[in-house]
Symmetry: C2
Subunit: 320 residues, 2 copies
Amino acid sequence: MRSVNLEKGKLELRQHQARPQPGSGESLIRVTQAGVCATDLALARGYMAFAGVPGHEFIGYAESGPFAGKRVVGEINLACGSCSTCAQSLPEHCPNRRVLGIAGQPGAFADYLLLPNENLHPVPDSVSDDAAVFTEPLAAAYEIPKLIHFRPGSRALVAGDGKLGLLCAQVLNEAGLEITVAGRHPERARLLPAAIRHSFGLLEADSPVLQPQFELAVEASGRPEVLARLIPGMLPRSRIVMKTTMERSHEIDLAPLVINEISLEGSRCGPFEVALAALAEGRIQVEGMIEARYPLAEAERAFAHAARPGSLKILLQMQD
Amino acid sequence: MRSVNLEKGKLELRQHQARPQPGSGESLIRVTQAGVCATDLALARGYMAFAGVPGHEFIGYAESGPFAGKRVVGEINLACGSCSTCAQSLPEHCPNRRVLGIAGQPGAFADYLLLPNENLHPVPDSVSDDAAVFTEPLAAAYEIPKLIHFRPGSRALVAGDGKLGLLCAQVLNEAGLEITVAGRHPERARLLPAAIRHSFGLLEADSPVLQPQFELAVEASGRPEVLARLIPGMLPRSRIVMKTTMERSHEIDLAPLVINEISLEGSRCGPFEVALAALAEGRIQVEGMIEARYPLAEAERAFAHAARPGSLKILLQMQD
């Protein structure tokens, strides 16, 4: 099989690799396509000193195990199952975990991958392969209403109109919130339901300081300076959910968080089954977010395209 | 009457001021003593471009109104009562609020002050004048168990062994948590119940990086660099409560908050009645925290003393 290896920032296609052999409780998955995520770009820039096969947003066919012959997607955290964190049902926080395509577990930019059976979810027939690659980021978006109970009609700000911002905005709109997306790409409004306000230039360096008006904000821009700019827009006792891992640290004035008793909450993974159900019922629109497709052999071009400012989802396809 | 006026960082005793006249729904309070708080020192350094009479931690006698003749303490936020924030029962966040000794309402470093009747709490007989001046900061500490429900036996870190840190540690110990106070003053251990571990040098520049072990942390040091140092000590899904308003912004790496789904929550005021009950029942020890007393006329010396690194509570006394 083929795999794309990343080491010291260089991507390299390796041919004629041996297929991985599933161990007990694992399934072999034949990957059909996989999305390039911002985390993959960060790994290519040196984040976490990554070396190996990246890729964690995928769809494929199980070739063995309980889902053999079925299309599957997979949760990315491989917990040890025996530590105190796992005992608290927080496998995604297991300190000994491996993470598909991110830490210690070869990822999806390859013809085949392995995952534990408990990580796999069969994909309903009504979910296309294109939609299914959004399961992982959509699940992360569905973590927000799981985490926070808000009054319907509350005003929420989604900072960022990239893929994650567009997904979070749709999920919160479905939950009954009144959403403003602050983005840099006016044309993205067409990818959102009409009820969502898309606002250009609300959180830029030269934007006027926001007035307090939001009960919830989701930071999905990945730019630390945006977090500082959205804080003045938050009402007392409001909540800010950070969905993107920022590589850079940034100077932030935390005094307004104390004075206005605002909370800032990190959030990462989310419920795959909820995301798959939403995709199956057509409640969340994702296909419009696919910008380009590249064969696996052109991973380098795919990464370069994905790294262009404002690009949407770039897919790698295993069948050339 | 006399009052201490602060303007452009200069304190000045003004004699022969007219006593303020209580309006409808207000009481005149004869102040007996008042504490110098870190916020007062910040105001003297120019925070909020303050001009007026500072002071907001006080005890005095009501000279008029429903509590006439009684000892009282008072909540410091004067809400407008007619805006949407007040309608949500969040008077301490009213955007039109005045704040005793901090914004728009002359404070307690004076022989008399005015407060709305609804801000006043009569002081139980068993609470000494010395204990009563701690009501406001102790109420702020009691906001933490009101805000957060935790499992008894959870490990909590209190960063800072100043007045607020010592109060927060006692409140959380009472709530059944296992407390470590990270401080700079080893001798402060004697001000804490034996069950609380007092650790010197846990969060200094040359301290080893903390290992994840705490489910709750309270930032009460007022030093932004301490916040950055305590984050590695936090377990997944843990919570950090920020109790002190930091004047400086600081560079913070927020990625661990997302990866470990940690929340950072600002918290300010708290329930006066809960604090007064704890003082009345002797559950919280405060008298040992009084370091010195100055007559009102020596406010400048009192401020200078309070500004010494590591000083505990400094009181201003109105009867010389």
